[in-house]
Symmetry: C2
Subunit: 480 residues, 2 copies
């Protein structure tokens, strides 16, 4: 197993464990271009399941998918000053097409606000054209200079970006909140990862936004990970790209805009949160393979009967719409197969041996708990359905316990620093609202405000840094 | 109507008609970057339907989706000499990341053979890893210097590229043929466009392939359009990227490889082939809106009853899984709406007026023929289902008639030149197999060999150019 199995323990060297799991479970690989990665089929299948669910949710609410060019003229990025400043340091530039140098270099999209809104300005004429709610699934490039990390930070990644335009500030606000709550739902219910939800501080907001909302979760090493964002762009971009409409009042108005996105980094979070020393643990709702069936070989007549039985079970489960692999390879032992499918995180393993055959039963083994259950043949479909729900629930509950354990309420800056250096995680404390305190805390500890929760609490202490009156209860953390 | 409707007749100025239809039906728009386009929601929805069907067909046959980086080191492209020569003139290059010049410039993928096979070399170890069948949906960049055309030739487009590796030449050949036949099926059955299917000549094959198969169709202006290709790469790339496996015989072998793709240009073909002077005609199987319901307003009590009835019908059809728009906007007249939905090519329009309400019926109008049918309320679902099949079949039959009319068998080079300059279309004739004759014909007429059909025919004449013995019956045409 040293060649194929995970050799590093999750709680000994988390970072190395993560890389081993990703590579050995064949979710991703390093690309020949520095900072880039390949998303291999088992991980891409997770992305496809996320796409399927998100597409359903966005289409039923009247959003439509489209595709905008990847190339953005430099001048476009420059129009919104904050936006340009925020993104320019990490833009990859096209300067040459064939043998010819380009007159104006082109940015590879780090995000698509500018290119999209230049078109919105053309397409939107009157209030009848609003709301305009467009989404696109595409690749994004940010030329990271920090160390890259598979799924979490790579120079190219995949995402979805929704971009909407509305008549009123209220409608826009509703959209912003709809999107961030939709993300919370998808991440918690599909990926079984609980999140904190709230607003970003001014210094952490999207470059060019009025304000940014976010869902954040905590990884087992105590670092926070931003899981999705939804920005209220106000009229900032509308004013620089001249996105106006003629209202029912026959007057010109600027539109109100939102943008929101989630990326393939969600796959990284799923690996980190749920995996164990044996490898991946895939939530049943996104598992590329939901069930693996392993015949336990035995000489003589039984071998054929077991083969036939496992085949029959596989067919029934496939007919139920499940993704099933019957691993009847002759060249590997059952033990080798168990290890391999545990590494790949398949939620349920079904074993059928001679004794099971005789007793009209199968053995089911849960990947999340390792629990073995004997199941009568007639009950297989029902039991699988019930187990999937149990596993999904149990994985979420376990992750929720971890999240709660990793939230520490601190009453003083000394305690703050102790927690940052020690157990890490989210630090729940009071903040006066001053960017100055926030900047100093960041400089001194590396921790930033991850969210100012939507659900307001009365601050228990004064600002943890300056001692002035506490404005908000916020969550700080070091982050990916 | 001059502002919103199509002002150019299809048979008067085909090229201008095409641009007007694409822009006015809001399928696409020109991007602010030269040669690039925006795929708007109604066109992207067609692409999504193609994706859905192709994904089903490739997954059920054991292919899996993945994602490879868009950036390819220059050195990779250079490894296969023919490939490099074929693609380099139209590569867009990244030379700068943030403020830093890159040490080695990076190609934006013009196709992904090189990046993918560098990984295949690492992933494939033994015969157990084969066949490896991976597909990706992504954007592609080719820095065209010729005039670009919406959907048909743009500097960035979307496609799907399948890349497989096999143990034997036979298995690879089977894959190549499976893919090209799958494309024929999708294009004929979903887009209702009949195709010719066959092999490309040496000079027209994919750069680096052993041979290329293709499906080709004809546009109403007599120019051919390549609709999809499937390449047998033989062991060319395997040898330069060292993609080897240890066989059951314990020996090293190079793999045999195929690659195949279709692009968003299919949407352009669909527009060209089916559209008319009123605008688009969408095949029901890919139409983003399959049915539009227009209440015919009338004062008094009827208005409310008609509103309720149209709403009821819309709900029933939606429940049947159809994509339906109930156009109950007050600010437009029925006539205006008819024009708009005809422009957008919606296959069936349902009208409900006071008399229909009294008679318990609706009026259905086919977009393809303009035919009006009175349908009893109870028969709506069945009639719609039947009409969809009729429309799909009729569109295909009409396109097939056009294809047949645009195939001219020629017996001499004089006749050849006459047809090229005159009616255009496919010229069916004999060719000796010499690249020299082919090159001269191209230079003199602009026509190239589009396919050497799989179904062989006995040549009726000697080579149309040199008069030596005819080897193959082939189809020439000028093309997009």
């Amino acid at each position: 197993m040293s060649d194929t199995g995970v050799t590093v323990k999750k709680n000994v060297d988390f970072s190395e464990w993560y890389v081993e799991v990703v590579l050995k479970a064949e979710l991703a690989d390093y690309a020949p271009v520095k900072g880039c990665m390949i998303i291999r089929p088992d991980a891409y299948a997770v992305w496809e399941k996320i796409q399927e669910v998100v597409n359903k949710k966005i289409k039923v609410t009247g959003h439509r998918n489209a595709y905008f060019p990847m190339f953005i003229p430099e001048a476009f990025l420059k129009r919104e000053a904050e936006h340009f400043e925020g993104f320019t340091p990490e833009v990859a530039w096209i300067t040459q097409g064939g043998d010819t140098s380009l007159e104006e270099k082109l940015a590879v999209r780090p995000t698509s606000e500018t290119i999209m809104y230049s078109m919105y300005a053309k397409w939107i004429r009157s209030w009848r054209d609003l709301p305009l709610k467009i989404n696109q699934w595409c690749n994004i490039v940010r030329w990271e200079t920090k160390a890259t990390k598979l799924f979490l930070r790579t120079r190219e990644f995949l995402w979805q970006e929704g971009h909407t335009a509305h008549q009123t500030a209220e409608e826009c606000e509703t959209e912003v909140m709809w999107a961030i709550n939709m993300y919370k739902d998808v991440i918690e219910n599909m990926l079984a990862i609980p999140v904190l939800i709230g607003t970003k501080s001014e210094s952490e907001k999207f470059a060019g936004a009025l304000y940014t909302t976010a869902v954040e979760s905590i990884m087992p090493d105590g670092k926070a990970l931003q899981m999705g964002t939804s920005h209220n762009l106000g009229q900032h971009f509308a004013k620089v790209f001249d996105v106006k409409y003629i209202g029912e009042d026959k007057m010109d108005h600027y539109v109100w805009q939102s943008s929101w996105g989630i990326t393939t980094r969600l796959i990284g979070a799923m690996i980190m949160v749920h995996g164990d020393d044996k490898g991946l643990i895939m939530p049943p709702k996104v598992a590329p393979t939901q069930i693996v069936i392993v015949p336990i070989p035995f000489k003589g007549q039984d071998a054929e009967a077991i083969a036939a039985k496992t085949c029959e079970i596989a067919d029934i489960l496939k007919t139920n719409g499940l993704s099933v692999i019957l691993d009847d390879r002759q060249e590997y032992t059952p033990g080798w197969k168990f290890n391999q499918w545990e590494l790949k995180g398949v939620p349920i393993r079904i074993e059928v041996g001679p004794r099971d055959l005789k007793n009209g039963q199968v053995v089911m083994v849960r990947r999340d708990t390792g629990q073995k259950i004997f199941v009568k043949e007639a009950d297989i479909s029902d039991t699988v359905e019930k187990l999937f729900q149990d596993i999904q629930d149990n994985m979420f509950a376990k992750a929720k316990t971890m999240l709660q354990e990793k939230i520490t309420a601190v009453m003083s800056y000394d305690e703050f620093k102790q927690v940052v250096e020690g157990k890490g995680g989210f630090i729940k404390t009071s903040w006066c609202g001053s960017p100055d305190c926030e900047a100093k805390i960041k400089a001194e500890t590396g921790a930033t405000i991850r969210v100012i929760p939507f659900e307001k609490e009365e601050p228990k202490i004064c600002c943890v840094y300056c001692g002035k009156s506490g404005k908000d209860v916020v969550y700080f953390a070091r982050s990916y």
